[in-house]
């Protein structure tokens, strides 16, 4: 992959899904003969045109039948193929859950499931097209690695990582076109290793997905008000990065987890589960979708209902610090 500032901007315009399927996958398939790409009738909306043109024999539309797609993917994978299967996160992680559990989690088939439009990017479509529980479901399955991309560049890194492993992976892609940029230059992506984006003060924001960019903006707003905080990108929800968390807990007085996901079972829960095993750790504030749905509207409108915008995150942190 040719990493230049211009390319990073182009990938951002394409969004996580466009970068993943339109940029990363065609290139990966050129290098790796055993890669296959399956979709449940979302090829065009996922930006797969280039892939289909370059690698027709590696592409398969299994139809609007998400459960069957997972079984087909598992069958194809048993002979050494590395199979990527994708549709919206709301369908792949929820409707196909049991097939994923049996074939990927238990049998260990080498299938990479890519859930696109996770969170509430399909905000106007309403709840059916939102995925705010997918990390909870995927994280509870043994043997699955669970990744959540902060921007388009990271989505590309995840595609490359997944293609080079032989175990099942869930990749959560969020946002639509024009994805906010977190990484303006190359960085070291290691699955299972959090990335520190900003380090200051004794408050640590741990964010994932689109909330990483939002948290970075919140940290700027806080800095303008004289409140310093660190921001970490937790791109791997499972396995969780215990050693970095140990350092974060030791160096901070307040932990704030931010995710475009239900606060039950997601990234914040993963952090809390580990934190609960340790003595003398700082308090944690959960920012995400409190248990419950929201009214449809623009993505920012939905975020505002849940307190997920940059200004709301900053205000919440100021309030929490005041009451600490």
């Amino acid at each position: 992959m040719n990493i230049t500032s211009a390319n990073i901007r182009t990938w951002a315009r394409l969004g996580q899904r466009g970068a993943f399927f339109g940029i990363a996958m065609p290139e990966i398939a050129s290098e790796k003969n055993n890669v296959k790409l399956l979709t449940a009738d979302l090829a065009l909306l996922s930006g797969m045109d280039r892939f289909i043109k370059a690698h027709p024999e590696k592409f398969l539309n299994t139809g609007i039948a998400e459960q069957n797609m997972i079984g087909i993917a598992a069958g194809l994978a048993m002979d050494g193929d590395c199979v990527f299967a994708t549709t919206y996160a709301s369908f792949i992680a929820v409707r196909s859950l049991e097939h994923i559990r049996q074939h990927l989690s238990h049998l260990g088939c080498n299938v990479k499931i890519v859930g696109s439009a996770a969170g509430v990017v399909a905000a106007k479509s309403g709840v059916s097209h939102w995925a705010t529980e997918d990390m909870a479901f995927m994280r509870a399955l043994p043997n699955l690695t669970v990744l959540s991309a902060a921007d388009s560049f990271e989505a590309i890194k995840m595609a490359e990582y997944a293609a080079n492993t032989d175990t099942p992976v869930y990749i959560r892609l969020s946002g639509g076109l024009n994805c906010p940029v977190v990484y303006t230059e190359d960085y070291d992506f290691k699955a299972g290793r959090m990335v520190c984006l900003r380090k200051a003060g004794r408050t640590a924001i741990i964010a994932t997905g689109l909330m990483v960019a939002e948290s970075m903006k919140a940290a700027e707003l806080l800095a303008e008000k004289g409140v310093e905080c660190s921001v970490y990108n937790m791109h791997t929800i499972k396995p969780i990065d215990r050693s970095t968390l140990d350092d974060i807990f030791a160096e901070n007085d307040l932990i704030v987890t931010v995710e475009e996901h239900n606060t039950i079972g997601g990234m914040g829960s993963a952090v809390a589960e580990y934190k609960a095993t340790l003595a003398n750790t700082p308090r944690q504030v959960f920012i995400g979708f409190p248990d419950g749905f929201a009214e449809a509207g623009s993505q920012r409108y939905v975020w505002e209902q849940k307190g997920l915008t940059d200004t709301q995150i900053a205000d919440r942190i100021i309030n929490e610090l005041r009451h600490s």
Partner: protein, 279 residues
């Protein structure tokens, strides 16, 4: 020739029934008698006359894939594999014991020849279609056989896979329906029957054959004949749930139940007579 082989299959099926009753002596809990006894001839025909899995020299590209989607008939598969020399007596004696690989419902263990887990219904045909598609694309000669129950045909994902298989012309894929007419709560026709299964499968683009599922000659002919070019094959094997033991037969309460008191002895006598009659 076929008659001889059919006779061997029949004897094998009844030996399987005998073996399953022996297994109940080491099992501590209920067992799936109805659905295991109904498919004895199907499995006997597969293991004696169709599958090439007994040839240990074959690699994965050549070795046929048998998937037990109706995982509750696991004990029937264990008994068939044991009698075929594919599962040791030692392992069979661990049936349903703590930590055993051979559990009440079939769990995948490819080293033992269990291609997939079958406990949750409706999953096997999708996986089988994936294996069949992989073979098509790579020109592997293996064939894929998936055994489901007629109650299992209630599952929506089965129909997704049926559509997929005909669309992709998977003529290396065979679906066998153990059509014993009963599911856990009663007659399949009264729960979600839906009319002729054969018509439905034909309309989904499957080459569909209906046979007496306890007649090994009919089963052998249906399984051995080549699929029509470009069409997956479905065999509706009409069976009797619990076949072979009078009080199991056509009684859905024997779907999953423990043998109590003298029941094991009575069942044993009936099955011994079946085995004896063949000698």
């Amino acid at each position: 020739m076929i008659k001889d082989q059919a006779q061997i299959c029949h004897e094998f099926a009844n030996s399987m029934r005998k073996k399953m009753l022996e297994m109940s002596e080491i099992s501590s809990g209920p067992m799936h008698w109805g659905g295991s006894f109904s498919c004895a001839e199907i499995l006997a025909t597969l293991y004696c006359a169709v599958l090439n899995v007994k040839d240990k020299g074959l690699d994965d590209m050549h070795k046929d894939k048998f998937l037990l989607s109706k995982g509750h008939a696991a004990m029937a598969v264990y008994s068939a594999m044991n009698l075929s020399g594919l599962l040791s007596d030692e392992l069979l004696e661990t049936y349903q014991q703590d930590g055993s690989i051979i559990s009440e419902l079939l769990e995948a263990d490819r080293s033992l020849g269990f291609e997939t887990s079958g406990g949750s219904l409706g999953l096997g045909l999708s996986y089988g279609a994936g294996l069949a598609l992989a073979a098509k694309r790579k020109n592997y000669p293996y064939k894929v056989y998936v055994l489901v129950g007629d109650g299992e045909m209630n599952e929506g994902s089965i129909w997704e896979a049926l559509m997929f298989a005909s669309q992709h012309r998977l003529d290396n894929l065979t679906l066998i329906i153990d059509s014993n007419g009963l599911q856990s709560d009663g007659p399949t026709s009264e729960i979600v029957g839906g009319g002729s299964m054969k018509d439905r499968l034909c309309s989904f683009g499957w080459n569909t054959i209906s046979v007496d599922g306890h007649c090994c000659k009919q089963l052998t002919e249906a399984l051995a004949c080549s699929n029509e070019k470009g069409m997956p094959k479905a065999i509706i094997a009409n069976t009797i749930k619990g076949k072979g033991v009078s009080f199991f037969e056509n009684d859905f309460t024997w779907h999953d139940r423990s043998l109590k008191g003298t029941e094991l002895e009575k069942a044993g006598e009936e099955v011994s007579r079946l085995v004896g009659n063949e000698l």
